[in-house]
């Protein structure tokens, strides 16, 4: 009995990256920008999405792919605001979405009728940073109830993101959170980060976020 050696040299992320490239291509073909919303659990990501869908729903046709480890709670909340929710990927343990799941989710969407796609990732500031989903950009959401040093504790994610949303601004009077310090930490890690300061609850700061989304979305003239 002999042992033969097979040279492989394959990148472990190869398959995901290939699928992500496919997703990116499909989205570009239809002119649909896709934002991968990432955060730790409890940042207000879903509330932010709900508010966005509610406020912009009459203007933009938005679709959402959501991921959760368990339950369909996020999907159920979001489904109230858009007909274009595509699964609820319940990962049952996986701590991030992967490109295969997003690719499959796109099959359930009529992309020619979508102006904007949101991918609501699993609440996790670590793993999603390494998994390309074919998105236009990652948007990292964190909140004033977290530490100001979040960006330097999770630099890979803040580096991978194009935008950062600092949420729950309505709670500032009750906290000793220093916004400037948090922004400084974030810019230390990623000087190019575009910041939004929001309260999904009160609507504060959402206008700038909406302008950002509008500038990326394809708007259909007329009906």
């Amino acid at each position: 009995m002999t042992v033969r050696r097979i040279e492989v040299r394959e990148r472990v992320m190869e398959r995901n990256d290939a699928l992500a490239a496919g997703v990116r291509h499909r989205l570009r073909e239809h002119g649909v920008p896709a934002f991968n919303l990432v955060s730790s659990p409890g940042s207000g990501k879903t509330a932010l999405l709900e508010r966005t869908l509610q406020d912009l729903g009459s203007e933009l046709r938005m679709a959402v792919v959501t991921g959760d480890v368990q339950t369909q709670n996020d999907a159920d909340r979001i489904a109230r605001w858009t007909e274009r929710l595509v699964h609820a990927v319940v990962t049952g343990g996986a701590c991030h979405l992967d490109a295969r799941q997003v690719d499959a989710a796109l099959d359930g969407l009529e992309l020619s009728e979508v102006d904007l796609l949101f991918i609501e990732n699993v609440g996790n500031l670590v793993c999603p940073a390494g998994w390309d989903l074919g998105e236009t950009a990652k948007v990292v959401v964190f909140s004033v109830t977290e530490g100001e040093d979040k960006p330097v504790k999770y630099p890979a994610m803040f580096r991978a993101a194009r935008c950062a949303i600092l949420n729950k601004m309505d709670l500032l009077p009750h906290l000793s959170f220093d916004v400037d310090r948090a922004v400084a930490f974030a810019r230390e890690v990623n000087p190019e980060l575009e910041f939004f300061f929001t309260s999904a609850l009160t609507g504060e700061g959402m206008a700038s976020w909406y302008d950002f989304l509008r500038s990326h979305a394809r708007t259909r003239a007329g009906a």
């Binding site: 009995m1 097979i6 040279e7 492989v8 472990v12 701590c95 890979a156």
Partner: protein
């Protein structure tokens, strides 16, 4: 756990390479870990050991090498080859 899904992917790559039927004959899996990949090698090795100790595998050894760069790769596989009758 992140390293666990990476370990699963490594096992899938092995299956792609040698076919499901040959997985029990895999004796060694060589992995290179980029220093900037963000992968925790001990954690990955632990997860791989778990997976390689279960069917369809039959206890393959993991050899991990740290290398420059960002990539995590399956470098090679060593597979038992049925020679002429023993």
């Amino acid at each position: 756990m992140h390293e666990f899904s990476l370990a699963l992917e490594i096992c899938r790559i092995a299956e792609d390479q040698v076919g499901a039927a040959a997985l029990s004959r895999v004796r060694e899996v060589g992995v290179t870990v980029g220093r900037d990949s963000g992968v925790e090698p001990d954690s990955l090795e632990f997860c791989l050991d778990v997976l390689l100790g279960e069917p369809p595998f039959r206890g393959a050894r993991v050899t991990m090498e740290m290398v420059p760069g960002e990539d995590l790769r399956v470098s090679y596989l060593e597979v038992e080859h049925d020679g002429p009758t023993d």
